[in-house]
Symmetry: C2
Subunit: 254 residues, 2 copies
């Protein structure tokens, strides 16, 4: 069984393309947010109830729409509704890339990481465009390549995949490229305005600042240069290389 | 300058204890959510405006309350309001522990990770209790030990600290312990009820399942056994050890 989710909502074009592809490879069930949940990262809904709507069966695939976050979707599916553990969780295809540090804000990847914590092979997919008429059907063939590879090889525990697809004609894509997360961040991020009462408010905006644009082993370079980036993501956030160093620096003294 | 934030809101007991401690070590400015933002992880507010209230100056410390998430607080402070980069960002003290995979859902750690992305030494602190009358003043002495150590040694780029403090009398705490993130997850997570119209809804609940309770190098073990856990956290989520393996498995074939 393949569980499909996303953060753009159950009506988004990207998830429909992903569902159509997944249906060629197994039984599919969809748990997706009722509306947009971009930027919700790994957030969970704890201060209000979560509603779940059974949206019925379409061509053998069952659809559930959830009022909560992408992580809520995965949790409800795994802990409450499904009678067995899915073999794979696919998240996306996101409208907009999740390269570099964008992964940290991404609800798409939040859902994939949650599934990974539950011991399920999980992949988040993103297409590098926000155009409403983006061609997800072309890009989904690369998602399919990655899924088939994961079905063949399985992923190690505590590792999931962050896959980003460039928005260029499929025949111009140079192939899949295994990468690392680019060092980068979002800067200059707010527009300040006043509401009708004269009270200031802010809208988050900003632009991405790549701290290592020349590094060809990064996901941002890959997508900018016509590759599909595949980054193995660790759910263990420990900076293992630093443990010995912190001990040497005396962090353990009382 | 020391920027202090949290996810329990500007009125929480934990942040007040942290501010009082920080004031002994430099100029302090507070940017904290107006209300509770637990479980908001690294979420950002993109679909609605963010309001920021200047709550004035108390004893030399300036307070700002933000309608958004902990990450919004850090972004507004760094990109919009402060005239220079803080030297340190302290987040917490959280009401409840953020050991093991709880770090992934934690707004406290979301704020610390955001600061770390901006190149600032950042520490998230959590106290292992949800009791309303918890003694944050006792626990803050351990937060101070960690801060002083960071001031003395600095942290490497892309690494921040996740510090969890057991809720036992301070004199019984065995000291600081440098650890790794425990492998574990939350399971059985929903209570199902019906609203007055008969519509089902879910409340997130559940309990933590430690997958390696005997491992003494983990943060959960440390806190359960009377230590303050100090885990170095990487903002780079890449599973670097897997890159070569994925290439060997043929992930790069077209």
């Amino acid at each position: 069984m393949i569980l499909v989710t996303n953060d753009d909502g159950i009506q988004a074009k990207g998830i429909q393309a992903l569902v159509s592809m997944a249906e060629r490879h197994g039984e599919v069930v969809v748990f997706a947010p009722m509306g947009g949940q971009s930027g919700m990262a790994h957030a969970i809904t704890t201060r209000e109830p979560i509603f779940l709507e059974d949206r019925g069966n379409q061509g053998g695939t069952r659809y559930y729409a959830c009022s909560g976050t992408p992580v809520d979707c995965v949790k409800l599916a795994l802990n409450q509704v499904l009678d067995r553990k899915p073999d794979f969780v696919l998240s996306g295809i996101n409208h907009g890339s999740n390269t570099s540090s964008s992964i940290i804000y991404s609800g798409t990847m939040g859902a994939a990481i949650e599934a990974c914590l539950h011991g399920i092979d999980a992949i988040g997919f993103s297409l590098d465009t926000h155009r409403a008429d983006a061609d997800f059907d072309a890009s989904v063939r690369f998602a399919e390549q990655v899924l088939l590879k994961v079905m063949e090889t399985e992923l190690p525990p505590y590792v999931c995949l962050n896959v980003n697809i460039p928005e260029i004609p499929a025949e111009e894509v140079k192939g899949l490229r295994v990468c690392r997360q680019t060092k980068g961040l979002w800067v200059e991020e707010f527009v300040r305005r006043q509401n009708p009462d004269g009270k200031s408010y802010y809208w988050l905006t900003g632009k991405f600042h790549n701290l290592e644009p020349e590094e060809q082993d990064t996901d941002q370079w890959a997508v900018d240069n016509g590759y599909v980036s595949v980054v193995p993501i660790s759910v263990d956030l420990t900076a293992h290389g630093m443990i010995g160093e912190l001990k040497n620096l005396g962090y353990e003294s009382r």
